[in-house]
């Protein structure tokens, strides 16, 4: 560190620096830490508030969903797909070999009950909502940039890097589910 001329204070001079240098560095460091700490409220205010986090679960009655049908409900402001799979769709999903998958995951790890497939309806590419019962694998097709998902919601083709996410959910009874 450069030595500043200090005609009156030579007592503070020590090897490799002096008291004033130390004070500069200490004050500067403390100032930087203070500014970083003070800026946190300004950054954190943009995160979801406790009120938003509290709204984080949704209950759905499944009784009206016929086999072969899919509905979309809203959970945390996002679409969630609930699909009542047919036997054919289930076996298609189960019989796919894991080697054919860009993001390998067995169907059994993605469902609690084989006929009910519950997924976050947000394309893992850039967040569009895929269309159900379309695409080359008869699961979903995302029109935005052309991602194809299968009947287990796994990515098969297109720019999306990952399978459609499975939200946390519990079956309250046979035909009622709580998401979140």
């Amino acid at each position: 560190m450069a030595k500043s001329p200090k005609p009156h204070d030579t007592a503070g001079q020590a090897e490799g620096g002096n008291r004033r240098d130390f004070l500069y560095v200490a004050t500067g460091t403390l100032g930087a830490v203070g500014v970083a700490a003070a800026s946190w409220p300004f950054i954190h205010q943009m995160n979801p508030s406790a009120a938003v986090l509290a709204l984080a679960s949704t209950e759905v009655d499944l009784s009206a969903i016929e086999q072969g049908q899919a509905i979309t409900v809203i959970w945390r402001g996002k679409p969630v797909f609930i699909r009542h799979r047919t036997a054919k769709e289930i076996s298609q999903a189960q019989d796919t070999s894991l080697e054919a998958l860009p993001d390998p995951q067995a169907d059994s790890e993605r469902v609690q009950k084989a006929e009910w497939l519950i997924l976050v309806g947000v394309c893992t590419h850039l967040g569009c909502v895929p269309l159900s019962h379309t695409g080359e694998y008869e699961g979903w097709f995302c029109p935005c940039h052309g991602s194809h998902y299968d009947t287990s919601g796994r990515i098969r083709k297109g720019p999306a890097p990952a399978n459609l996410a499975v939200p946390e959910y519990v079956f309250i009874d046979d035909l009622k589910v709580r998401i979140g």
Binding site: M46, V52, G77, C128
Partner: protein, 419 residues
């Protein structure tokens, strides 16, 4: 003593204490400007005028706009139907954004052609790029405000770009949204920032001009001005020329506002945002199309998946321009004296147009291939061709001064720059 000289004395009294009139005089009226500027030099002042138009129309729109997911769309419809002249103000603002980009793109390509980014104007060039980035953020957030389908899904796709960042991507998108999807919190903060950023732009424009006036404008020959015989005072010569350009601009602008106000927009944005249904074909506003094409063009590269690679390429396409003054190693500024660079310049223009078209088409078949080629060429131009040209291109002899035609029998001088 007459009133006039009393007024003058009052001005002098004030200027002595705060020399703002001297400052304005130096930076406009007295500013010595190269005498050979052509019409490509009109676009800077034009951009400044459009910025003022956007701020004025924006402030009055904000008097009627409601930044809430339940009311935003209706408040914009009310501006269109009920507010006195609301339709005019909104059409000026919406088309003003397009005009701003058109003018700034021309302004940037002018800089590329005449080598205006070269020493000693590198900082001036950087400030221009910062202006471009802030403009893009502003326009993106403004487009979300009417809360139509394109607003919502454009916001969703663009904010999701950040989820490509490894590890922290998800936290960043949640932080940007203030929730788990684009929603009311997002709309509110976008309104706040959309209001703020244009004023930040004013500040950066001020720095841009400050740095311009340090060395003065470049000119079509790219050689330095040598004293008063090469320059004319900005006023009245260029105030008049700029004003003429403003007239031509206003005619074209009015054609859009009054006869084709939605020509550059998307019909889907007159449908209220629906978080459950994505429109079949989402495309950004025209001024983002080349960048959008780059985003979608990149395939998986080694262990980087296509999503992340696309995002990196898109940001790199602009960030790379910050290094341009060093990538282009040729000591000659103007393409007039660079026969090879001139050809590659026009190829680059064509390349960006192809990128724009590719960005508007669904990414499949021929357009996907063209988009990829054009993306590759964009990077090749800046990273390979420019450094190479600087080394091997035979440049034409430079004139002695702006006043001297090249064909004067005087022996060619060595290049001007590189000092």
């Amino acid at each position: 003593m007459s009133n006039i000289s009393a007024g003058k004395r009052a001005l002098q009294w004030f200027d002595y204490r705060l020399p703002i009139f001297t400052f304005i005089h130096h930076s406009t009226v007295g500013y010595p400007t190269p005498k050979n500027l052509n019409y490509w030099w009109n676009f800077g002042s034009l951009a400044g005028i459009i910025l003022v138009v956007q701020i004025v129309t924006g402030i009055v729109l904000a008097m009627h706009y409601t930044p809430h997911v339940d009311h935003a769309f209706d408040s914009v419809e009310a501006i269109m139907r009920d507010v006195n002249y609301g339709w005019l103000l909104r059409y000026i603002h919406a088309n003003g954004a397009s005009a701003f980009f058109a003018v700034v793109f021309i302004h940037i390509f002018r800089g590329l052609y005449f080598g205006s980014y070269k020493s000693p104007r590198e900082v001036l060039w950087w400030l221009g790029l910062i202006i471009l980035l802030i403009m893009m953020a502003t326009a993106f957030m403004g487009y979300v405000l009417p809360w139509g389908q394109m607003s919502f899904w454009g916001a969703t796709v663009i904010t999701n770009l950040f989820s490509a960042i490894p590890l922290v991507g998800e936290s960043i998108t949640t932080w940007l949204w203030g929730g788990f999807a684009v929603g009311n919190a997002t709309l509110n903060r976008f309104f706040s920032l959309h209001f703020l950023l244009p004023f930040v732009l004013v500040g950066v424009v001020f720095l841009h001009l400050w740095s311009l006036h340090k060395f003065g404008s470049n000119n079509p020959t790219g050689i330095d001005t040598r004293g008063p015989k090469d320059t004319v005072p900005f006023h009245p010569y260029y105030t008049i020329k700029d004003l003429f350009g403003v007239g031509v601009f206003l005619i074209i602008f009015s054609v859009f506002i009054f006869y084709a106000p939605n020509y550059l927009g998307h019909p889907d944005n007159y449908i209220k945002a629906n978080p459950l249904v994505t429109p079949a074909h989402i495309v950004p506003e025209w001024y983002f199309l080349p960048f959008y094409a780059i985003l979608r063009a990149v395939p998986d590269i080694l262990f980087v998946d296509a999503k992340l690679a696309g995002v990196i390429a898109m940001f790199a396409s602009i960030l790379l321009l910050f290094a341009l003054p060093w990538l282009d190693s040729s000591p000659v500024r103007s393409a007039r004296f660079r026969p090879w660079y001139k050809q590659f310049f026009w190829l680059l223009v064509l390349d960006v147009v192809v990128l724009g078209v590719a960005g508007a088409k669904p990414p499949e078949g021929l357009w996907l291939v063209l988009g990829r080629l054009a993306t590759a060429y964009y990077f090749i131009h800046f990273l390979i061709l420019l450094p190479l040209l600087g080394r091997i291109e035979p440049t034409k002899p430079l004139p002695r001064s702006i006043g001297d035609p090249v064909l004067n029998s005087s022996p060619p001088r060595e290049s001007e720059t590189g000092s």
